[in-house]
């Protein structure tokens, strides 16, 4: 099985895979405006279309930088109708989106903002911060006085930063109701798509490895316990693929929260375990930095760690399920 793509999605996926995180290539190929509205000079791609393309591209290149630097800023600029949309689409302004999951203790004091924003991918080089917390959104120039950043790399290779805000000025934006939640879910699902691409590559590598690696005079893939472990990886990742694509397809419907949290939960439980199992099946070679597996595994882990933990998403699912049960009960007695 593989990811079914439309012709357009396949073209975008190919471009994304070619450009990877290279900013100039992304600019040249016009990919920075992927999710910016057509009115503002972008391609106007919605989440439902962007996710399958991202997942496909993620099979050959990590998409973290693309998500943080292009997909999310474009979605935010479009959703909040920002004047910066054109500059973002044209690659003239590097923007980054901070969401509730990144923000611990931000507080507004009149016209300034103070607090910390943590582990924000892309924040190392961005010029504009788009802050989306519930209905209160804002833009902040990242060279504002009072704003300091501490940059580093994440385990999947993409750069990120912590931001400390000390009475930093901001431009308030009135966002349409639900924008922050929607962007938060888009961000979570985009991470899931990167992990999905990585996972499909992991499973292909692992299958090929055990089919050829010999120990005890035979391919290790002929040992039943290893076969069954490989089947679990394969079947689990097919199910995960189903969840990610379904969440993309249903992103604009009423079921968005449930579908996204299901995909993200699965990323942190079954896919994390599947990635570990893939290392196990590789044996020693899977433990080496040089071999491609490790970098792929780290992408699955980073996708799990950011934008709400697996337990956070299980808790949200639990609340949705309880509400469903109560509604069903009412419908029956009504």
């Amino acid at each position: 099985m593989s990811i079914n793509l439309t012709e357009d999605q396949r073209m975008i996926a190919n471009s994304l895979a070619g450009a990877g995180g290279d900013w100039d290539a992304l600019t040249e190929l016009g990919l920075l405006g992927l999710t910016v509205s057509e009115a503002a000079g972008g391609a106007g791609l919605g989440v439902a279309d962007a996710i399958p393309a991202l997942a496909e591209a993620a099979r050959s290149a990590p998409m973290g930088s693309v998500i943080a630097g292009a997909v999310l800023p474009g979605l935010a600029a479009t959703a909040l109708d920002l004047p910066h949309a054109g500059a973002i689409a044209g690659g003239r302004l590097r923007a980054v989106v901070a969401l509730p999951a990144n923000c611990g203790d931000l507080h507004v004091d009149g016209t300034t903002l103070s607090g910390r924003i943590e582990v924000l991918p892309g924040a190392d080089t961005a010029e504009l911060l788009i802050l989306c917390l519930s209905e209160n959104c804002a833009t902040i120039a990242l060279d504002s006085p009072g704003l300091t950043r501490d940059s580093y790399a994440l385990a999947d290779g993409q750069p990120a930063a912590d931001l400390v805000l000390d009475k930093v000025g901001f431009v308030p934006i009135t966002a349409p109701k639900g924008s922050a939640g929607r962007l938060q879910d888009a961000s979570a699902l985009a991470l899931c798509a990167d992990a999905l691409g990585a996972m499909i590559t992991i499973r292909e590598m692992t299958r090929d490895y055990i089919a050829t690696r010999k120990q005890f005079g035979r391919a290790i893939g002929s040992f039943q316990a290893l076969q069954h472990a490989m089947v679990d990886i394969y079947h689990g990742s097919e199910d995960y693929l189903s969840l990610v694509l379904r969440a993309a397809g249903g992103f604009d419907g009423l079921d968005r929260a449930r579908l996204v949290s299901a995909a993200k939960r699965c990323c942190g439980t079954r896919m994390r375990a599947a990635a570990a199992s893939a290392v196990q099946l590789h044996g020693g070679i899977g433990m080496t930095q040089e071999y491609a597996l490790g970098a792929l595994v780290r992408r699955v882990l980073v996708a799990d760690m950011l934008n709400g933990s697996a337990d956070d998403h299980a808790a949200r699912l639990g609340r949705i399920i309880a509400n469903t049960a109560r509604r069903e009960m009412q419908e029956e007695t009504a």
């Binding site: 299958r207 069954h228 079947h235 639990g318």
Partner: protein
């Protein structure tokens, strides 16, 4: 991937729902929503109601009296019926021997047997497994000897579900004992269970119930017209049949209905001062189960969407069987937890505790799902070989 009905499918769903709403007897509904198992009689009643409507063979072509519904329509019908509390029709005629006869049977066999499957005049059971041929079905020992125009069948079948109710059995038997491979030299027969030499003995399972049987075939004589297709080609027909069986046990509609019941159970039970469904630890387990179900449902639809009508589902079947049976088991796991200490009570009498499907009995009964119809281990072997090429 969007799981939203097209306008056509939405209209179909509305039609199905309306029919079930008025046609499904209340007592059958109540059995399901009362956490009990449907009886055989309830299942037969529902079968006949559907037969009158012409909705009993959802995947069969119209020429044989089927609905010829698309996979999506079949899925919608199953989902609606299950969520309404309808019994599952047994697959042995409709999904197993029926399609085999359509593909490999003689015209006479089709004309004789297919209508009687639709009408429930015949009910079939499956004579495949033997005491020493379970997972290793190809090692079966039941013999069929041709004597003039008559096949004489001698052997013992086991784990035969609903043999106590069925009037026909399809039987795999070894017709060419000298064949080079165990898979060769097997034939498939249609056997009237009222014939001399057929004896059914009940097997009581660990849940205390009578689902399965031993079937003894003691020199049972059938005519050449009861041989399906060619002699010694039975393995081919059996593989086709098992593929269909395993797709069937994806059990998406039924699992969806069972999950609805489980939610209700968890809403009405307490843990500490709150509803069990609001307990974070139980809720996390339920969330994982619903997530895995959502994935299974979607994978199932993705796979079915690639399948042409009448196509060979054998490559997909092991995936659907594996996860479908696992999810059903996990539903019984959480259900028995939700029932609490009363789940430890052993069934009393015919009717049993109203919660008996969801207590220990459900859990014990569900153990069979990963064993029968191809064990999970065999499913994984097949996937490793055919899908992964290992």
């Amino acid at each position: 991937m969007q799981i939203i009905d097209s306008d056509e499918d939405a209209a179909f769903r509305a039609e199905v729902r309306a029919f079930i709403q008025q046609a499904l007897p209340q007592d059958i509904r109540d059995t399901f929503f009362g956490f009990r198992r449907h009886s055989w009689q309830q299942m037969i009643r529902w079968h006949r109601i559907l037969a009158d409507k012409g909705w009993v063979a959802v995947s069969w072509p119209r020429e044989y009296g089927g609905c010829a519904w698309t996979p999506m329509q079949q899925y919608i019908f199953d989902e609606e019926a299950m969520l309404a509390g309808a019994p599952r029709l047994r697959p042995f005629g409709l999904k197993m021997i029926g399609p085999v006869l359509m593909r490999y049977g003689s015209d006479a066999q089709k004309a004789r047997f297919l209508p009687r499957i639709l009408s429930a005049e015949d009910y079939w059971c499956q004579g495949f497994s033997e005491p020493d041929a379970g997972s290793d079905l190809a090692s079966l020992k039941t013999k069929a000897t041709l004597d003039g125009d008559i096949w004489r069948i001698e052997g013992q079948k086991t784990w035969t579900t609903t043999a106590q109710h069925a009037n026909w059995i399809f039987v795999l038997a070894r017709s060419a004992p000298q064949a080079a491979k165990p898979q060769e030299g097997i034939s498939l027969f249609l056997v009237d269970m009222s014939l001399p030499g057929v004896e059914v003995r009940p097997i009581i399972t660990i849940d205390g119930d009578h689902h399965v049987n031993e079937v003894f075939l003691d020199g049972v004589e059938v005519g050449a017209d009861m041989l399906v297709g060619e002699a010694n080609k039975g393995w081919t027909y059996a593989k086709y049949l098992l593929g269909n069986e395993r797709v069937g046990v994806a059990n998406v509609g039924q699992a969806k209905a069972e999950l609805k019941l489980l939610r209700r159970l968890a809403l009405t039970r307490k843990r500490g001062n709150q509803a069990l469904i609001d307990d974070p630890v139980f809720a996390a387990k339920l969330a994982d189960l619903e997530t895995d179900f959502l994935a299974h449902e979607t994978t199932n639809l993705r796979m079915l969407s690639t399948l042409k009508p009448g196509g060979d589902a054998s490559a997909l079947a092991p995936f659907l069987k594996l996860r479908g049976s696992e999810i059903q088991q996990r539903i019984t796991e959480l259900a028995s937890e939700a029932v609490g200490p009363r789940a430890a009570i052993w069934q009393r009498g015919e009717e049993g505790d109203p919660l008996d499907s969801y207590g220990l009995h459900g859990w014990l009964n569900a153990r069979a799902f990963t064993i029968f119809g191809g064990s999970s281990e065999v499913m994984k072997n097949i996937i490793a070989k055919t899908t992964l090429g290992l």
